[in-house]
């Protein structure tokens, strides 16, 4: 096994080992919110569980998976060993230490802040230290990605950087920009209060800084799925990539337009006027562009593959696609969920319509459909693709893998569609229990029960995933196929410098960030004071609330 392969594999292990228990927690949380009786019926456990589920899924699974994916992509797409292996292992260790610290703090019941960094709710300092270490460790990965791309460019002057490497570097730069917000919040505001060095906490400033991270992090999670759409799907389908340039443009646009938009999470926040909220809302709409480009390009790549395989007529190529390939099936299911979730997202990002669904179950349902559905199903497909190539042991059964993807797809739809409806009816998110005797809640009861059924299906699918990976892991070792990335219909011989590097785009992001966030953040230092006493979430506080 190559050294960089082992590195990627360790990251994947942590990601998927965290994934399964987190799904179990999610299913239990949905049961808890439903009218059905739930084991361990206790609201303090619910809030701790939400924190653990969210922290595991949003920070741990994603960060480890993307880091592992990045190392694998860098080594295979550049066709040479990864530079900085020692630093990469140090980064892995730091992230793991941070994860253990954060999880311990949550399990002790002293960090039930619902996995956000929204003061005045305040968790134990250990939780924030763990989160900071996780982010800090991932910054080593960011630096390594940028350095590896730069080194390759230096050694291959005039050649276009391979699209997978270009895209994963865009992901790394995006994450560096995004993480700046939460890092500033943790270091400047939250940790000093958590350690008792200050009494008050500026809630509005902290929330604004967190919003810098909040939306870009979603695109950080999304990027591996998009990279698979462009570079892995055409190979699995037996065709070619529709356009290399379109891919580069899409990743550049994602980098530029997912950053100065986070204030659409603060539409209801009293700390800001309407102007910047609208500006960021308008900029948010522009992330639709790279998504539509990607959907178009992916469908076009699939059509090319279908026609190569002998598909005829307007839609005949669809039937000709190899639907027994997990990667091909996953991309179709992913695009369906991306479409449904995307339309819901248009409501969230609209300044006026957001008011209908702000802080309701609609929002939770939305990001489960987009992230838990469209993105994570591509993580599965990537795992099925990469595991055999890393370990040299092929998947035991592609049919079982496809069944797992179908289960995940239906489970996610059955969970999230009624969840959206309950949100529209006004069901708040992050609430442990509802009084279903109340006529206002009674009509939501049936919907939540349907979501519970979906949750159970998801749990079954997650168990199947782990079973497939473990079974394949102990299978017969064969010769490992090298990782192959799609070649474009017209492979680029030269690309303009703007599409081969990030200097121009980083400059644009910097200016946009200053314009979009300069005043909203700066105002707190000159004009407004929003410092309030923090509300510490500790086990004493929670048990104190009950007789």
């Amino acid at each position: 096994m190559q050294r960089s392969s082992r590195l990627a594999l360790f990251h994947y292990w942590v990601a998927f080992a965290t994934f399964l228990p987190a799904v179990l927690l999610g299913a239990w949380q949905m049961l808890m919110r439903s009218p059905l009786p739930a084991p361990l019926d206790d609201s303090a456990s619910y809030y701790a569980s939400v924190t653990l589920h969210g922290t595991a899924m949003a920070y741990v699974v994603t960060t480890f998976f993307i880091m592992g994916f990045g190392y694998a992509v860098a080594a295979t797409s550049l066709g040479r060993p990864l530079r900085g292996m020692t630093a990469a292992w140090i980064g892995f260790a730091i992230c793991l230490l941070g994860t253990v610290m954060a999880v311990t703090a949550i399990l002790s019941g002293r960090a039930s802040v619902l996995y956000t960094f929204y003061p005045p709710l305040l968790a134990s300092g250990w939780y924030y230290c763990g989160a900071a270490l996780l982010v800090g460790g991932s910054m080593i990965w960011v630096v390594l990605m940028i350095l590896n791309m730069r080194a390759w460019k230096r050694d291959n002057p005039g050649h276009p950087v391979p699209l997978p490497m270009f895209a994963i570097t865009a992901t790394a730069i995006l994450w560096a920009w995004a993480a700046a917000g939460v890092t500033l919040e943790l270091v400047g505001i939250v940790l000093p209060r958590a350690f008792g060095w200050s009494d008050l906490i500026d809630a509005s400033l902290a929330r604004t800084l967190f919003s810098v991270t909040l939306h870009a992090i979603v695109y950080f999670w999304l990027m591996p799925a998009y990279i698979a759409f462009y570079t892995l799907v055409p190979v699995a389908a037996g065709g070619r990539m529709y356009s290399d340039t379109m891919g580069r443009l899409a990743f550049i646009m994602l980098l530029v337009f997912s950053l100065p938009v986070g204030m659409h999470h603060l539409f209801m926040d009293p700390g800001h006027g309407s102007g910047f909220k609208f500006v960021q809302s308008a900029l948010t709409f522009l992330v639709v562009l790279p998504t539509l480009l990607t959907v178009f390009s992916t469908c076009a790549s699939l059509e090319i593959a279908g026609r190569i395989r002998g598909g005829r007529g307007l839609l005949g190529w669809i039937r000709a696609l190899p639907w027994d390939e997990p990667m091909v099936l996953a991309v179709a299911l992913s695009l369906v969920m991306l479409g449904l979730g995307g339309f819901g997202g248009l409501v969230n990002m609209s300044y006026a319509m957001n008011a209908m669904i702000h802080n309701t179950s609609w929002v939770t349902a939305h990001f489960h459909l987009i992230f838990g559905g469209a993105v994570v199903i591509m993580y599965f497909a990537i795992a099925y693709e990469m595991w055999p190539r890393i370990t040299g042991r092929p998947l035991r059964s592609k049919r079982l893998a496809c069944a797992q993807l179908w289960l995940w797809f239906w489970g996610m739809l059955i969970t999230t569609v009624p969840w959206h409806v309950a949100g529209l009816m006004g069901q708040p998110r992050r609430v442990a229990a509802f009084d279903y005797a109340d006529p206002l809640n009674a009509r939501m009861g049936g919907l939540v029960v349907v979501s519970v059924i979906g949750g159970v299906i998801l749990l079954g699918s997650a168990i199947l995933l782990i079973a497939i990976l473990i079974r394949s892991h102990f299978g017969l070792r064969r010769q490992a196929m090298p990782m192959g990335y799609a070649i474009a219909v017209n492979p680029p011989l030269r690309v303009p410098p703007a599409l081969n590097g990030f200097g121009l785009w980083n400059a644009i992001v910097a200016v946009l960030m200053v314009l979009a966030y300069g005043y909203p953040i700066g105002q707190f230092f000159f004009m407004k004071q929003h410092s309030v006493p923090a509300v510490a979430v500790t086990s004493e506080l929670e048990s104190g609330g009950k007789p």
Partner: protein
């Protein structure tokens, strides 16, 4: 190669197009967000440009409220059930009232027993109810045809007199108190929706039983007895409460309840009180 085409070399097409399109998007959203949307909150401009801009950046302390017309503050009635009010009502003189009532009979019928479904029967109605309604008509808290002008011509004392007169006329409404409840009447399992609503209400929708205030077997101050009233009149009042046309219930209780009732339920309840109820 990257060096010769730096991010700020606007002579080259890529930087020029990228900066240009980003700037265009930003400027357009800035203008809409800070000037247009702030100024035109409704169909016309409601704020000055400068005020709109200040609000858009979140500085609203000195800019005053938006120039939108505010609805006048509204109290449902001038009547409160104080000792003074109750003493005033109790001082009503039936004989004086008979004289005042001469101008009522054209619509409300001889002795307050109305023949038309447009006008409520007043005979047997509690004097406090009549007194309050007259005051509400006088102050414009309740509006209906000529009643405002007629009530305005009466003094407080004359209102009390005529209330006492009608309260003691026979042959109209059945007294609210002192009657039994139908067998099994207070049960939520009652089949007849009218009897269920009247005696048990509908807790799931926050509807108390009608009988708790309007009888039979109970009465609250200010709530009229209803048995024997015209069906159409009761139904029309429920609809008026539901639509907010009538707003003189002191604690908004009738508006809240009526909004929850379906038209069929209004009809059924009115039928219960106005139909069989009056004849018994």
């Amino acid at each position: 190669m990257v060096r010769e085409q730096g991010p700020f070399k606007l002579g080259n097409p890529w930087p020029r197009i990228a900066w240009g399109s980003v700037a265009a998007v930003f400027i357009a959203s800035f203008l809409i967000g800070f000037l247009v949307l702030g100024r035109f909150q409704q169909n016309g401009p409601t704020l000055g440009t400068w005020t709109a801009f200040c609000r858009a950046i979140g500085l609203s302390a000195a800019s005053g409220s938006a120039g939108e017309p505010q609805p006048p503050r509204r109290t449902p009635t001038r009547i409160a059930w104080t000792n003074n009010t109750l003493a005033q009502i109790a001082s009503g003189n039936e004989q004086h009232g008979a004289f005042v009532a001469l101008s009522c009979t054209a619509c409300h019928g001889e002795g307050g027993v109305s023949a038309s479904t447009l006008f409520p029967t007043l005979a047997g109605m509690n004097s406090a109810v009549i007194y309050k309604q007259l005051d509400d008509f006088r102050s414009g808290k309740r509006l209906w045809g000529a009643m405002g002008a007629i009530a305005a011509s009466l003094s407080d004392q004359q209102s009390a007199d005529v209330a006492a007169y009608f309260a003691h006329r026979p042959g109209g409404l059945a007294p609210a108190a002192g009657e039994g409840i139908p067998e099994g009447g207070r049960s939520l399992r009652q089949r007849d929706p009218a009897i269920r609503l009247v005696f048990a209400g509908d807790p799931q929708r926050g509807i108390p039983p009608c009988a708790a205030c309007h009888g039979p077997d109970a009465q609250k101050l200010g709530a009229p007895a209803l048995r024997g009233q015209h069906i159409e009149y009761i139904e029309r009042q429920l609809a008026a409460f539901a639509q907010g046309m009538r707003q003189n219930d002191i604690n908004e209780q009738m508006r809240v309840i009526a909004r929850e009732l379906k038209p069929s339920e209004m009809h059924a309840v009115a039928g219960y009180y106005g139909g069989a109820g009056g004849d018994e």
